[in-house]
């Protein structure tokens, strides 16, 4: 049971990479990159999970009265999401510009920079 979330994270990461490698559309490729990234969310949250733990919010419970999930990895995941949103937005903007300048979003037709 403990290995399962790690296997899921690895599977999701590799799925994203497979999508990137075989993509025929740059918008699809950016989506695949987001899939790659979601594997990091799975891994981080799985690392911090505690059986029977509750969210680390102390507005209605007394500190120390219940087990909590690890708040550090949740903070890391939130930071990661912010980073991911920035990267995705930037890459989508670049895809738009590629579509305008090249008239295509098919990576097979974007092969000028080679050799």
């Amino acid at each position: 049971m403990h290995v399962f979330p790690y296997l899921v994270a690895a599977y999701v990461f590799l799925t994203g990479c497979h999508g990137l490698a075989t993509s025929r559309n740059l918008i699809h490729a950016v989506g695949c990159l987001a899939v790659c990234q979601s594997s990091t969310y799975i891994l981080l949250l799985a690392v911090g999970y505690r059986d029977g733990g509750t969210a680390p919010v102390f507005s209605d419970i007394r500190p120390g009265s219940r087990p909590l999930v690890d708040p550090v990895v949740q903070a890391l995941t939130l930071t990661d999401i912010v980073v991911g949103a920035t990267v995705t937005a930037l890459l989508l903007a670049l895809v738009l510009q590629i579509a305008k300048r090249h008239g295509t979003v098919d990576p097979d037709e974007l092969r000028e920079l080679r050799g």
Binding site: L20, T40, V47, Q97, R114, G115
Partner: protein
């Protein structure tokens, strides 16, 4: 003094915020002066802290100190290598800003502060990356640096190639960064710590029967993947020529001069603090990983560099080749190797940035960076001809340039057959630059024939408002100063020893090596320089003798320009890393 460490990140970021807020109101000159002043102030701060960095400065930001050995706070470490690299990044940013002074057409109209602001964010991220003392901060600054670098690469958004190169750069680097974050997650799962030194201690305490297991290996491989993508080691390097060839010249100076080297720095830092203990990766396995990848990188980089006609791509591949040499130097895990690499990086930064600056002047004067098209056309630019040739010789390791000193010290540290790799790789990359200088500035030899499967550089857009009739003084002065800096690294008395002392204090715990010129090193450097000059002469006088042989063609076809291929190569590279480091676990 340690309280001043966060300012290394905060000052450039505040400067950038100021420029973004007031950029609309400021005239261009005021914005440029503000940018230069802020980056120079950060450089001065880094240098002041550097003088005070023994013993290393450690700052817990917001005073979140560890309790009972467990920490949740952000820790910054300011030792010699960290602050030295921060100073290098800041000085180079200042040079790039000074160079772009008269370079760009006002970018974009009415927002004079946009470009300097982006460069300042880049500088802040690089400074943060080098002084980060915990792995998650390392990741955050890695990503901040990457995102700004994508933006800067695609800065000329009307240029079709620029957006394409920036996209490739973005996808490949982000993929590497996510691999790194997975690795950080695994290490956190094992130790419950994010501080690098604490993870190292945690790994040693928790190591089952005293050695690393599969989880440590996976963490090591994933973290190293991210750093090696940034360092552009083969086979993670495919994004680099695309990005460097299309980025604006001041950005190229930073990308090649210091950002790629930060990947190498990250490998050194992470291995030294996290994985060097008994619970980490044993030294022989790390040596196998880094030396194998380093030799491969140096070989591929040098061969691809030789066969380029697009001058910016040629310089980009030369950076790949030199990254390989840096990795070999670190991989032998001796104090002398570390010293040599530190000096080599300092010299290389000056020389490579100067060469990019000269290429930028060519682009704006003639609207082309194609060696074949420019053949014999740039005869009037005598000053640049001299600087380009001097840069080529320095790249080959001509004494007494800093590149030559660094190379000589590293060669002595690696010893044996690996010395041959150093001599040949630096001779080929230096020779390619000399060949360009001879053809473009002097018009020697016949005009070479065009080959299939290559990227020319004849239809590049000049980055200035129009073709320049005269190169402004600021664009001439910057490469001259950079070359003088690279020379000073090699000739300033005692500088080598100073660098060696500060590197060894941080790395190998007190073992102090001496970094200075030896007769053996000077001879090897002269040999490499002579080889470079010979290769260039051969290429100019008898082009068919050094035309691409059949075995080089598949190597060039691998650089297919297809993003899917690059991601596939990244996975292959990660698997190779794991296979090379596997004996650490199996042999245990």
């Amino acid at each position: 003094m340690r309280h001043l460490l966060p300012l290394l990140v905060a000052v450039p970021l505040l400067g950038a915020a100021l420029l973004v807020a007031l950029g609309r109101l400021l005239p261009r000159a005021a914005a440029e002066i503000t940018g230069c002043a802020v980056s120079a102030a950060t450089a001065a701060l880094a240098l002041v802290l550097l003088l005070d960095s023994s013993p290393p400065l450690v700052e817990w930001v917001g005073n979140w100190r560890p309790v009972d050995g467990r920490s949740v706070g952000i820790v910054l470490t300011g030792d010699g290598p960290a602050l030295g690299t921060a100073a290098l990044a800041s000085l180079l940013t200042c040079a790039a800003l000074a160079y772009s002074w008269r370079y760009f057409e006002e970018p974009p109209r009415g927002h004079a502060g946009a470009f300097p602001a982006l460069l300042l964010v880049f500088q802040g991220a690089m400074c943060g990356f080098v002084i980060a003392g915990d792995l998650f901060d390392l990741f955050v600054f890695f990503e901040l640096m990457s995102v700004v670098a994508y933006v800067l690469t695609g800065y000329r958004i009307d240029d079709a190639k620029a957006v394409q190169g920036a996209f490739t750069f973005g996808v490949v680097n982000s993929c590497g960064a996510y691999a790194m974050l997975l690795g950080i997650g695994l290490l956190y799962a094992r130790t419950g710590e994010l501080g690098m030194a604490m993870i190292g201690r945690g790994l040693d305490e928790r190591a089952p029967d005293g050695g690393p297991d599969a989880l440590v290996l996976a963490g090591f491989v994933l973290v190293l993947t991210g750093l090696l993508v940034k360092a552009a080691a083969v086979p993670f390097h495919f994004w680099l020529p695309d990005a460097h060839a299309v980025a604006p010249t001041p950005v190229c100076m930073l990308l090649s001069g210091v950002m790629v080297e930060l990947g190498v720095y990250g490998v050194w830092r992470v291995y030294g603090t996290v994985f060097s203990g008994p619970g980490g990766i044993p030294a022989p396995d790390l040596t196998r990983v880094l030396v194998t990848l380093g030799v491969l990188t140096a070989a591929v980089g040098a061969v691809m560099c030789w066969y380029q006609r697009h001058i910016k791509r040629l310089l980009a591949y030369s950076t790949v080749a030199h990254t390989g040499l840096f990795l070999i130097g670190l991989g032998v895990l001796t104090p002398e190797g570390d010293d040599g690499v530190a000096l080599y990086i300092l010299g290389h930064a000056g020389v490579k940035a100067a060469l990019f600056a000269c290429t930028g002047a060519l682009l704006d004067r003639y609207g082309s960076v194609d060696e074949h098209e420019l053949h014999g056309r740039a005869g009037a630019m005598r000053g640049f001809a001299v600087m380009f040739a001097v840069g080529g010789l320095a790249l080959a390791g001509l004494p007494p340039f800093g590149t030559g000193l660094g190379k000589a010290v590293t060669e002595e540290a690696v010893g044996g057959p690996l010395t041959v790799v150093y001599v040949i790789a630096s001779a080929i990359t230096g020779g390619a630059v000399l060949r360009v200088a001879a053809r473009v500035f002097l018009g020697l030899g016949p005009r070479p024939e065009d080959a299939a499967e290559e990227t020319g550089g004849s239809d590049e857009q000049p980055e200035t408002g129009g073709i320049l009739s005269r190169v402004p003084d600021s664009m001439t002065a910057v490469p001259a100063v950079l070359l003088a800096g690279a020379l000073a690294v090699g000739v300033a008395p005692g500088f080598g020893d100073l660098v060696a002392r500060s590197v060894n204090e941080a790395g190998s715990g007190g073992a102090h090596a001496f970094a200075h010129w030896t007769a053996h090193g000077v001879l090897l450097d002269l040999l490499a320089t002579a080889l470079a000059a010979g290769l260039a002469a051969l290429a100019v006088t008898r082009p068919h003798r050094v035309a691409a042989p059949d075995w080089a063609l598949p190597l060039r076809r691998v650089q297919s320009g297809h993003i899917g291929d690059y991601v596939a190569w990244l996975l292959i590279g990660t698997t190779t890393l794991a296979a090379l480091a596997l004996p650490a676990v199996v042999g245990g």
